[in-house]
């Protein structure tokens, strides 16, 4: 490209009026080996621009925090399953009382015997309460 053209483009460039394609032309021009000495100083600028556009991050960028959350979700699920299983498995099954008699007839009679004994004691105790009637009698004497 003609030198005067480049100078004109440079002027436009510093006014911020060049288009992207004109700027590309400038970049191409200034990355060549030979540039007139009075334009030499701009060479660094355009070389810097084209060099900078190739800089990349050295560290691999990942979405690892999300993965961590994913792990936590599964740990949570595993914990709740373990808890529920634990509750169901360790809960003591209600102990059924073992039969003490083989024959229901004997069982009935034994039960009756015990109930009789209980009622007998009850009646013995009740006889002591006869005195309570005396209170009733005395009370009736005063309150008619």
């Amino acid at each position: 490209m003609e030198l005067s053209n480049i100078e004109k483009l440079l002027e436009k460039y510093f006014e911020g009026e060049t288009t992207i394609s004109e700027e590309k032309e400038l970049k191409v021009y200034f990355t060549r080996e030979t540039v007139p000495s009075h334009l030499e100083r701009y060479r660094d600028l355009f070389q810097y621009f084209s060099e900078e556009s190739t800089v990349t991050a050295t560290k691999e960028l990942t979405l690892n925090i999300d993965r961590k959350r994913f792990v936590y979700t599964w740990i949570g699920i595993a914990a709740s399953v373990a808890l529920i299983a634990g509750v169901f498995l360790t809960r003591s099954t209600p102990s059924t009382t073992a039969d003490t008699f083989e024959d229901p007839e004997i069982a009935l009679q034994e039960t009756k015997k015990i109930l009789n004994m209980v009622s007998q004691y009850m009646n013995e105790g009740k006889q002591e309460l006869v005195y309570l009637k005396e209170f009733e009698n005395t009370k009736n004497k005063f309150i008619k």
Binding site: F14, E15, G16, R41, D44, L45, T56, A57, L61, D66
Partner: protein
């Protein structure tokens, strides 16, 4: 959206996010963190991705906002850490070193510009977005983009001229 699809989508512009972050934050590590943060945020709102008309521009805006937050937080901190990205320079030919040096010098000039101009030059001269796209990303109007661009470029020219005349840094 599945993770794989998301990664293919963001692979197209994640380097641009990184470079913008690096331009603003200077430090490589911080820029990597910023890119990571922005991508994660984007991933979390992946349900809404189809609603955005331009995911790339949206991600750029997110990066800009994130970096500005970082810079603001740094300003208020008592301790300032200057990142210089120390590198182990391999011995090379004098010429190569000189060339490298003068390119670094351009980078230094660029990084001394006000943030707005720095960002616009990054987006325009390095990433080659057009002014309308930049205006959309930065939420300013196109004229402001053009003015900032011109000011930034002229400032760089002045500094280059100074350096060229004195020949010393």
């Amino acid at each position: 959206m599945k993770e794989r699809a998301f990664i293919t989508l963001t692979n197209g512009f994640k380097d641009k996010l990184f470079r913008l972050a690096k331009r603003l934050l200077v430090s490589n590590e911080e820029a990597e963190d910023a890119t990571q943060e922005v991508l994660l945020k984007l991933w979390k709102s992946k349900g809404k991705i189809s609603e955005y008309k331009n995911v790339e521009a949206f991600a750029m805006t997110m990066t800009k906002n994130y970096c500005f937050d970082k810079l603001k937080a740094k300003e208020t901190a008592n301790l300032k850490i200057v990142h210089s990205n120390y590198k182990d320079e391999r011995p090379s030919l004098q010429r190569e070193v000189e060339a490298k040096d003068s390119l670094d010098w351009v980078g230094k000039i660029l990084n001394d510009l006000p943030e707005q101009q720095r960002m616009i030059i990054q987006l325009r001269d390095i990433e080659q977005y057009d002014n309308a796209e930049i205006a959309d990303m930065l939420k300013i109007n196109e004229t402001a983009v053009r003015v900032a661009l011109s000011r930034g470029r002229k400032r760089i020219r002045e500094e280059l001229l100074k350096k060229h005349n004195y020949g010393i840094v």
